[in-house]
Amino acid sequence: MQLGFLVDLHLCMGCKGCEIACKVENEVPLSTWRLRVKYVDVGTFPETKRTFTPLRCNHCENAPCERICPVSALHYLENGIVDIDKERCIGCAGCVMACPYGAIYIDPQTQTADKCTYCAHRIASSMMPACVVACPVEANIFGDLDDVSSNISKYIQRNQSNVQVRKPEKGTNPHHFYVGGGNVSLNPLASERPEGHHLFGKITSKMPVGGH
């Protein structure tokens, strides 16, 4: 079994329901994100449109984070998920530096690396990842890439000419696919990034407010 994700960007409407579901399910601290939806505006008024791209760990078959981790805190599960053992992590941030998708962060509460695990704990209980459940338009398709009859395999077969991964030139073989993606949604260098259009930019690594 090799679990994978596919996001149909034609369907995604940027509601950020997946983002919130992930935050709640995994208790992701303020200023950090396992999954986020990036908005990119394209065109010049009045010919404009907005693209929405959910971004999470790609669970690469050839994962640079797994390779660089000095203590095997990042490791493969049998189902292909790249999981993390936070108790073992020493916080060297090698994985953060190695991941070409910016999917790993240092958790400000535990001071260890963290990232999307495809909700491995839910998978172990035969449940779908929280973001899949929360998506109102079923833009997130999750399943076994080794099973040709799975939803994700069928989706890939139906959209063969339009299935992409991010940064294929890195040779990481992501288990995360996009349908309907373009250069501006999948290539971070294809869009400008002006100041002032990001969330919680001034929160750095402080603990969340509360408790006193």
């Binding site: 998708y101 260098l189 294809a190």
Partner: protein
């Protein structure tokens, strides 16, 4: 904002996203690389002096071993300080993952420190013959110890700028440059004029070669990959690291080369010392710029 090409036809602008994290590996890692260059470099230079200028090398066993010991400890201390969970450092030795350059480097650096401690003891007790035998193995081990950071940078798949062949050459050259510069300053009157001239040649040539590699990457790197082009923009024009980059290049490479030529022409040892001092300070700046600029690039 890097000046990579945004097509006018698409006019794509990120209108909502999370903030880009820009300092995953901060200046502590710069200290790590800088101190390691000095710690391994002085060992290379002592090995060289004992064979080419034994009259000078013989007087420098203790001071060199002690300097290497101090700087390797600085390197290890700052490596530890950079960890978010420093008290779990022992996990590396009890749960080692051998595909990681960090793991291999940790074992090698620990062995290197152990041998350096032995060298200090042997130098202090004046057991020169044994010292020289151990020094051979320490010198051999110093090569992978100084190189492993290049392997680590190469394992950072996300940072296209750090390519293994170039980084490994830069690490060895940094060790030769820092080692010769530190030895010129440490040696003082114990070094003969000829020994100083030899160290000056090592300093000048390593500066020249490192400068050539940096300039090659600066000019030709952007022709190979979009990410390198975007990264190099941070040290071009009004980029945030342009001034620091050129300050580093002048202080570490260009000025020391000029000063070494001047010192040979005028037989001035003070000018050579100035070149050594500039190179040591400048190396920190050069390393810091090269560490920081790939971290400025948005990854997703």
């Amino acid at each position: 904002m890097a000046a990579h090409e945004i097509l006018a036809a698409t006019n794509a602008v990120v209108s909502l996203d999370v903030a880009t994290v820009t300092t995953t590996w901060p200046w502590l890692v710069t200290v790590n690389m800088w101190a390691k260059s000095i710690g391994t470099g002085v060992i290379f230079m002592l090995f060289l002096l004992l064979r080419t200028h034994p009259e000078s090398g013989n007087k420098l066993r203790f001071v060199t071993a002690a300097a290497a010991f101090v700087f390797i400890n600085i390197f290890l201390l700052f490596t530890l300080a950079d960890l978010h969970q420093p008290f779990r450092m022992w996990h590396i030795f009890f749960h080692p993952h051998w595909s990681s350059a960090i793991t291999i480097g940790s074992f090698m650096a620990s062995a290197f420190l152990g041998l350096l401690t032995l060298l200090v003891f042997l130098a202090y007790t004046k057991k020169d013959e044994t010292f020289d035998k151990v020094l051979l193995w320490v010198t051999i081990l110093a090569i992978p110890v100084t190189l492993y950071t290049a392997a680590l940078m190469a394992q950072c798949t996300a940072r296209e700028l750090w390519q293994m062949p170039a980084e490994s050459a830069q690490m060895i050259l940094a060790a030769l440059l820092a080692g010769s510069a530190a030895m010129i300053l440490l040696g003082g009157d114990k070094l003969t004029y000829e020994a100083k001239k030899s160290l000056g040649v090592v300093l000048g040539l390593s500066a020249l070669m490192a400068f050539i590699i940096y300039m090659s990457e600066y000019v030709f790197g952007p022709m190979k990959a979009e990410e390198i082009a975007a990264t190099i923009e941070y040290i071009k024009g009004d980029g945030p690291y342009t001034v620091m980059f050129w300050l580093g290049q002048w202080m570490t490479y260009l000025l020391p080369m000029l000063l070494i030529v001047l010192s040979r022409a005028s037989k001035s040892e003070n000018i050579l010392k100035l070149a050594a001092l500039l190179a040591l300070v400048g190396l920190f700046i050069v390393k810091h710029v090269w560490l920081m600029i790939p971290q400025l690039l948005p990854m997703s």
